[in-house]
């Protein structure tokens, strides 16, 4: 079976930020996606392993970058060599954890550029070329993921979105010429992610572990040469999710200790310190297709004294506890064919906000029209959302699915 879609998307900028490559828009593109799943019915030895082959590719005519690109989103084979084991090999999207657009133990790559310019949520996730082994038993289940090829987050480089360049100490656009050095491809640079999980009654509990690299260039190799790199990282974490008695709704909690392996003492000001991240969430549904979700997220910098002692003028000021609140409101109208959604990030410590209003109208089984906006507010130029203040945009997408 072959499915897919054709889509046109456009995202004019409110403020006409002139730092970036194009002044008037963030996004102007036509996309054509095809996906195919094949589940062979023979030979017999293979059928008994429940085989599945999946392929999904995007042809993108990107008028912002003035380029035509073909990207394989997913291409994997999946078999069960034993009744208790699945192996998924190839390019795949990997997601786990309990956050809603916030990630602690999910260290798999993201594309925040897509997220901020108005592409579909699907494109927040960047595929990984990986082996994934899943084990099931009555006692617990486990996933083990090996990622031999490092894939970082799609970084904001200034071409499409202006941002705060800590090497230049100001908001920059395309003149930013940072050099991002990725870890080399070697067997011992393979990233490993593991998850052990089971249910206790209605509650899902998981333990997480990750060893690899920061997905963002959190280390400065050479400030004069504007050379950044992806430092080594280990994460140890846990999560829980389940219903709230009496009140109804779903609550979740997640915690992760991010061990910055190349700066464990926190003395090196050029490399991100270790942190502990905390997340608590609650979501509830109400009559007439209304849903509300709130999250509280905190990021505690460890060795904060070392950070303060070693900071130099020009370094980005940081709080020991960075806090973030999110609010999601979703309401469906017209027999669930029109969805109004409003997502907000607000940080009381960074004094910045990101609003994501969106309307999605499913006019038929095939046509979908989406209109939304990305709005950024902030007191300072260097905070996560504040740095994007000049990139406010309104986007529209029209998609035909088949």
């Amino acid at each position: 079976m072959i499915h897919g879609f054709a889509e046109v998307a456009s995202s004019p900028k409110f403020l006409g930020d002139e730092r970036t490559d194009k002044d008037e828009f963030n996004l102007l593109e036509e996309r054509f996606q095809l996906k195919a799943a094949y589940r062979p019915a023979k030979p017999e030895w293979l059928v008994s392993q429940n085989p599945e082959f999946f392929y999904k590719g995007d042809l993108l005519v990107d008028e912002y970058e003035e380029a035509v690109r073909y990207k394989i989103r997913e291409a994997y084979g999946l078999v069960s060599p034993f009744s208790w084991m699945d192996v998924k090999l190839g390019r795949q999207i990997l997601t786990w954890g309990t956050g809603d657009l916030l990630f602690i133990n999910d260290a798999f790559p993201k594309n925040y550029e897509s997220f901020f310019i108005g592409r579909d949520d699907e494109y927040l996730k960047v595929p990984s070329d990986a082996w994934k082994f899943s084990f099931a038993s009555h006692w617990a289940s486990a996933d083990l993921v090996l990622i031999p090829f490092f894939t970082p987050d799609v970084s904001i480089t200034g071409d499409r979105l202006s941002f705060y360049d800590n090497l230049l100490g100001r908001l920059v656009g395309e003149e930013s010429d940072r050099l991002l050095t990725e870890p080399s491809f070697q067997p011992n640079n393979t990233q490993i992610a593991g998850r052990l999980y089971r249910d206790f009654g209605a509650y899902e509990v998981a333990a997480h572990v990750f060893k690899g690299y920061f997905n963002q260039p959190k280390g400065i190799k050479n400030a004069d040469a504007k050379e950044l790199f992806y430092p080594k990282l280990a994460i140890y974490g846990a999560s829980i999710r389940g219903p709230v008695p009496f009140l109804g709704g779903i609550t979740s909690g997640e915690v992760g200790y991010l061990d910055s392996l190349e700066d464990r003492s926190g003395k090196n000001r050029l490399i991100e310190n270790a942190t502990v991240k905390y997340l608590v969430g609650y979501e509830r549904d109400f009559p007439k297709d209304l849903r509300l979700g709130v999250q509280y997220f905190a990021e505690q910098m460890l060795d904060f004294d070392e950070f303060k002692i070693n900071s130099q003028s020009g370094d980005i000021p940081r709080d020991q506890f960075r806090q973030l609140l999110t609010l999601r409101i979703t309401k469906l109208f017209w027999r669930q064919t029109l969805e109004a959604s409003f997502f907000t990030f607000y940080s009381p410590t960074d004094s910045d906000t990101h609003f994501r209003p969106r309307l999605t109208w499913q006019t038929s089984d095939h046509w979908k029209f989406t209109v939304g906006a990305n709005i950024f507010l902030g007191r300072h130029d260097w905070t996560e959302f504040g740095q994007l203040e000049d990139n406010d945009n309104l986007y529209m997408r029209l998609r035909y699915s088949f």
């Binding site: 599945e52 795949q92 899943s134 099931a136």
Partner: protein, 271 residues
Amino acid sequence: MKRFWLGLILFLCFASSEIVRSVYAQESPDGKSVMNEMLTAYYYSRQDAKSEVFMRIVNRQGQTRERRLILLRLDETDGGKQSYYIYFHEPPDVQGMSFLVLKHPGRDDDRWLYLPSIDLVKRIATSDKRTSFAGSDFTYEDVSGRDLDEDDHELLDEESLGERSTFVVKSTPKRFGEVEFSSRKFWIDKATHLPLKVEHYDLKGMLYKVYETSAIQTFQDTPTITKAVMKDLGSGHETEITIKTISYDVGITSDLFQERLLRRPPTKWIR
């Protein structure tokens, strides 16, 4: 001779009272037991089932939307715990999504949705069971059954509906205003215990929604509703559900109903 007559009289007394009692029981069951039989026949038929379901949603303008899905069901006990797995084949924008429901009578269901494009297993809050199922005129409760004890059931009458004789039962929610109807009136087939017609009355007592069974077929000795329509009288909106194929007792096991099943749809079952 005296003892014979006494014995005969005693026998007749007992026998007749037995006969009277059984006739009475057959003629006038109470509403709750009729409803319970319906719930068991409709939602808990056999031990497990695999079905291919087709839904056609039609609005007043005649525009249609379609859903095709595979439904796996496993019962722990009749009227008790149940597990559902749903895999969407159509329409294209939800193709590949899967849905897991663990139903526990007496408390909220556990529900998960898997979005394959971002590999996300989402836990769904389920406080409101009266939301539409997949944009259709059926609610979650219509699809998976409403707890017997949520309503008071009163046997109103017996009527013939076409060729079938039915019990007419009125079900009134115990807590008025908690759901959008003030009462529902069921026509329940005496032979199969399946619902043939359900009228929904709103909080003002006005008829606003009608369910009607249009086909019953027997598979593996089990009478099964294979076509039914839910009509919203106010909006002119309607949804037709067709069971394209169904097989019972196919050997679905409880270890299927886990997160693994969402992330890795079982080839054997979703074809």
